[in-house]
């Protein structure tokens, strides 16, 4: 009997150990995960934790002191410049290691290694897009430059110095949650990070969708639905600016009518992963002539997916060569957006199309040869080995052509037949010493230095704004932009010969730009950079309405202060709604509206067109407009076997303002002929039903409806690490661009007075540890539209009491 009892209890014990020590029976290995000594409790940072430390490393050449302020922002004071980058790498790793590695794994198409086979399609997409190829090309170019290589090597050494001292019990929580461990950092990961940002900002394209739309709709309807330039264009470089005759001219191939503009079969390519087209930003700069202090003010707020840990890490780097402050990307050395003792700099996305597809014909299934310039030429085969957690590796063979990787072939998209494939030509694949731009910007002293610095940057094309203490203000749209004949690259191009290849790039000096304009300010908000007089064809995805309040306020204001600029960054004016309202008001047949519906109309009539957090008018208006949009477009566009990509919002508004009998107004699914009055009225009545449901759910108020949420990088898999329900206004097309999970990821305003004054905030915290009070402590301030004064420390300021913690890094002799 005792034997029986013993073996019974022993079996229970063994089962318990297996159940708690593996993920076979429970989603987590709870024994380890909740262990006091090795589990998540080790990540519970004491609320009074000290960050004081003394560290020695053989890679250092001198002493570096890091002073942390009360927001845990490090102020690095390095005797040697190289050491500053080492320490920055160390600090990025100490506070953001998991994020850095996860983002670069994602860039490299390695998520399956962490989360298993569910990420294979994502990983294949990344590999086939040539993300690693692109990072390798960039790194080769960056490492040719001794300065860039030194900076990258020092940064990488710093990251690895931290990883090497990290005990498994102190691994960031996400490693424990997902059950893996960090690997060593390398310079390629820095390049991968840049390429991930390039994809975020210059990876959105509509070539397949527009090709199919053109083939299905024909020339006339296509131009009506996808116009190149909106009526309400408010370009970066003011309308009427004279552009010199172009240095480069280019003409379309002679067979363009038969080979390019063709009706016919749609292309059955399905793109599963696309960057958010809302990725963008605002930036502006005001000359001293318009400010209270008489000194320039620069403002920038990049709009990205809002995540925890935040994409940004605030930092000051002081070396004998420069003293820069701003935000950095964990994963890259230097200050990315910020200022130094002489200048300030910021960015918005250009939105320009720098990504085209070419139709390729392979000789056979093996894809070792493709037809080009009248003969079969060999392709370069790259075998992508995708590691999968708890499974065998997945091998994906990608054929590289003269254009770039044949991203879509029948191994990836089985609808493709006849050995057809689509090769990607993308500026991001071209080698470039991108990192050098930030290295030089951090130490730039004047306009000329800024010009030299930005010359190193090829993609993603950015509107690079600049101000200096000497009084200059400037904006250059910088990047490598292909020289295109009209319509080139709008559609998928024939890849059978070189005639449709890019023939060069727009000369950099002809990129839209302005220096010290008479109006005393410059701004950009992702709109088209120039009007039709700009002598090059520049397709892209551009914002239409957001620039309006910015340019109007900057034009109206004088004696501008930092406070005025804060108000402008928080501006909630809905230009689209105020432009559309007169049209809706005119065409709504009020005799058809009953009293229950009327209350929603009253809400809109009483609304001040401000997307404030508590506004109800914005929800009512948006619902009505969406209903009208669907009523007018969906019958024509969604009745076909292949749905046509939605025209942009401005297209319908511009069209209806121009022509109340717009061709698409009639609902072709009904026997009656609908006019604008009936469509506006039907749309309102449908919207009222939706609004009634929303009201019952308590979701008629904008901030409740929008539910601004800052997700953890693991998205809905880690809602415990997210913050939702942030009460904030704004929205798409609004200067305060805060949407559900997207918006101003860093808000910064710099006044370049003799002593620089700066404020900033981002929706996150300096620590990436969900067990730290510094994980999300900036969010409430950000949500209220408030800012922190940025403490720009000078060596002379440093004394006990001027900082909260101090880390000293010294050289190990």
């Amino acid at each position: 009997m005792r034997f029986l009892w013993f073996f019974l209890v022993l079996s229970i014990n063994a089962c318990l150990l297996v159940a708690l020590g593996t993920r076979k029976f429970l989603p987590l290995d709870l024994g380890s995960f909740l262990s006091l000594q090795e589990g998540v409790w080790q990540n519970a940072e004491h609320s009074n934790a000290s960050f004081d430390d003394n560290l020695t490393f053989s890679d250092l050449n001198g002493e570096t002191s890091v002073y942390f302020d009360e927001r845990l922002v490090p102020h690095i004071f390095a005797e040697q410049e190289k050491d500053a980058y080492f320490v920055q790498g160390y600090l990025h790793a100490k506070f953001r290691l998991w994020q850095m590695e996860f983002q670069t794994h994602a860039a490299a198409g390695r998520l399956s290694e962490i989360v298993g086979s569910k990420a294979i399609s994502f990983d294949r997409n990344q590999r086939r897009m040539g993300m690693v190829f692109s990072a390798e090309n960039a790194l080769a170019e960056m490492e040719k430059d001794s300065t860039t290589k030194t900076v990258l090597d020092a940064y990488t050494a710093g990251v690895n110095a931290y990883i090497e001292t990290l005990q498994p019990s102190k691994f960031p929580i996400e490693y424990k949650l997902l059950g893996y461990r960090p690997e060593k950092w390398n310079n390629l990961k820095c390049a991968l990070f840049i390429k991930q940002m390039t994809n975020t900002l210059a990876g959105y394209d509509r070539d397949f969708e527009l090709t199919n739309a053109y083939r299905l709709l024909g020339e006339q309807d296509f131009r009506l639905l996808f116009p190149e330039i909106p009526d309400s264009l408010n370009p970066i470089i003011p309308k009427g600016t004279a552009y010199p005759k172009p240095l480069e001219a280019i003409t379309a191939p002679s067979d363009v009518d038969s080979s390019y503009y063709q009706r016919g079969d749609v292309i059955p390519v399905e793109e599963e992963f696309k960057p958010d087209p809302s990725n963008g930003s605002n930036n502006w700069v005001v000359a001293g002539s318009k400010t209270q202090s008489g000194k320039p003010i620069l403002a920038n707020d990049p709009h990205l997916g809002l995540t925890l840990p935040s994409i940004w890490y605030e930092i000051q780097i002081n070396t004998p060569a420069f003293n820069a402050y701003g935000v950095s990307f964990p994963g890259l050395p230097g200050v990315v957006i910020g200022f130094n003792d002489s200048i300030a700099f910021g960015f918005t996305n250009s939105g320009r199309d720098v990504k085209d597809y070419y139709e390729i014909e392979f000789k056979d299934e093996a894809r070792k040869e493709y037809f080009f310039n009248g003969e079969w030429v060999p392709s370069n085969i790259r075998v992508e080995k995708i590691g999968i957690k708890d499974s065998l590796d997945y091998l994906d063979t990608v054929a590289y052509t003269v254009f770039g990787p044949a991203m879509f072939d029948n191994r990836y998209q089985n609808h493709l037949t006849n050995n057809k494939a689509y090769a990607l030509r993308w500026v991001a694949h071209d080698s470039s010493n991108l990192m050098k731009m930030w290295i030089l910007l951090n130490r730039a002293r004047n306009y000329d230095d800024y010009r030299t610095a930005i010359g190193y940057f090829n993609a993603p094309g950015q509107n690079m704004i600049f101000a200096s203490k000497s009084g200059d203000i400037a904006l250059w749209q910088q990047g490598t932009f292909p020289l295109r004949w009209k319509d080139q690259g709008l559609f998928v191009m024939p890849g059978r010969d070189s005639s449709y290849m890019w023939k060069g790039f727009i000369p950099a000096e002809e990129n839209p730009h302005s220096l010290n304009p008479e109006q005393g300010f410059l701004s950009s908000a992702n709109q088209r950079p120039a009007d039709t007089t700009y002598p090059y064809f520049i397709p892209g995805l551009y914002e239409v309405y957001r620039p309006y309040p910015i340019n109007r306020r900057l034009s109206e204001l004088n004696a501008i202060s930092i406070r005025d600029m804060q108000d402008l960054q928080n501006n909630n004016e809905n230009v689209f709604a105020s432009t559309a309202w007169p049209l809706l008001d005119t065409y709504l047949d009020r005799t058809m509206i009953d009293s229950d519906e009327k209350k929603y109309l009253d809400i809109i009539q009483d609304w001040n067109f401000q997307n404030e957090a508590n506004a109800k008018g914005v929800v009512c208006f948006n619902t009505w407009w969406d209903s009208l949009y669907a009523g007018i477009f969906y019958d024509e566009l969604y009745s076909k076997a292949t749905p046509i990509i939605k025209p942009e919002k401005f297209v319908l508004l511009d069209a209806l303002k121009r022509d109340p009998s717009y061709k698409f107004i009639d609902d072709i699914r009904t026997a009656e002929l609908e006019d604008l009055t009936s469509q506006v009225t039907i749309a309102f009545k449908k919207a009222a039903k939706t609004l009634s449901s929303l009201e019952k759910e308590g979701r008629l108020t904008w901030h409740v409806y929008k539910n601004t949420t800052i997700y953890h990088l693991l998205k809905t898999n880690a809602m415990a690490f997210a913050k939702s329900g942030i009460k904030i206004g704004g929205g798409h097309g609004i200067v305060n661009a805060t949407q559900h999970d997207h918006g101003p990821s860093w808000k910064m305003i710099i006044e370049l007075d003799s002593t620089t004054k700066a404020v900033g905030v981002y929706p996150g915290g300096q620590s990436g540890n969900p067990g730290s009070k510094y994980y999300d402590n900036f969010i409430d301030t950000w949500g209220r539209g408030e800012y922190y004064p940025l403490l720009v420390m000078q060596s002379s300021d440093i004394k006990p009491g001027s900082y909260k913690w101090k880390m000293i890094f010294t050289s190990k002799q």
């Binding site: 005792r2 022993l10 519970a44 004491h46 969900p770 067990g771």
Partner: protein, 116 residues
């Protein structure tokens, strides 16, 4: 006396072993106590279970309290789908306690089995 000894020794040994060994060190401590301290099997389980539960529970609570329960709130939401730091502390201490208790029982039954 034996009850008190095992009540105290088991968690302390479990914690000490945990400085060098993985998360299952309380099981090893329980096994050692079960073998070394002769008690009725039920008492052997109860003393090691309770001792580990209280001591580990206290230690975890102190960590969580110092952290203003920031982490416990988040992890409890992740593990139990409710924001309940005390439940998480209970589970976190309950696991080593259960391991220690069952292992002590295993050890005790082993001794009784080989004596026969």
């Amino acid at each position: 006396m034996k009850f008190i000894s095992s009540l105290l020794v088991c968690p302390l040994l479990g914690y000490a072993l945990g400085l060098f060994l993985p998360w299952w060190s309380p099981a090893l401590a329980g096994l050692a106590v079960g073998v070394a301290i002769p008690q009725k099997t039920g008492w052997s389980f109860l003393s090691t279970f309770l001792g580990t539960l209280v001591v580990f529970g206290m230690l975890i609570w102190m960590v969580s309290q110092g952290n203003d329960h920031i982490l416990a709130k988040r992890i409890s939401l992740l593990v139990t789908k409710q924001e309940n730091p005390m439940a998480l502390i209970g589970i976190s201490a309950g696991i080593p306690a259960l391991l220690a208790g069952i292992s002590a029982l295993t050890g005790r039954l082993f001794v009784l089995m080989i004596r026969k």
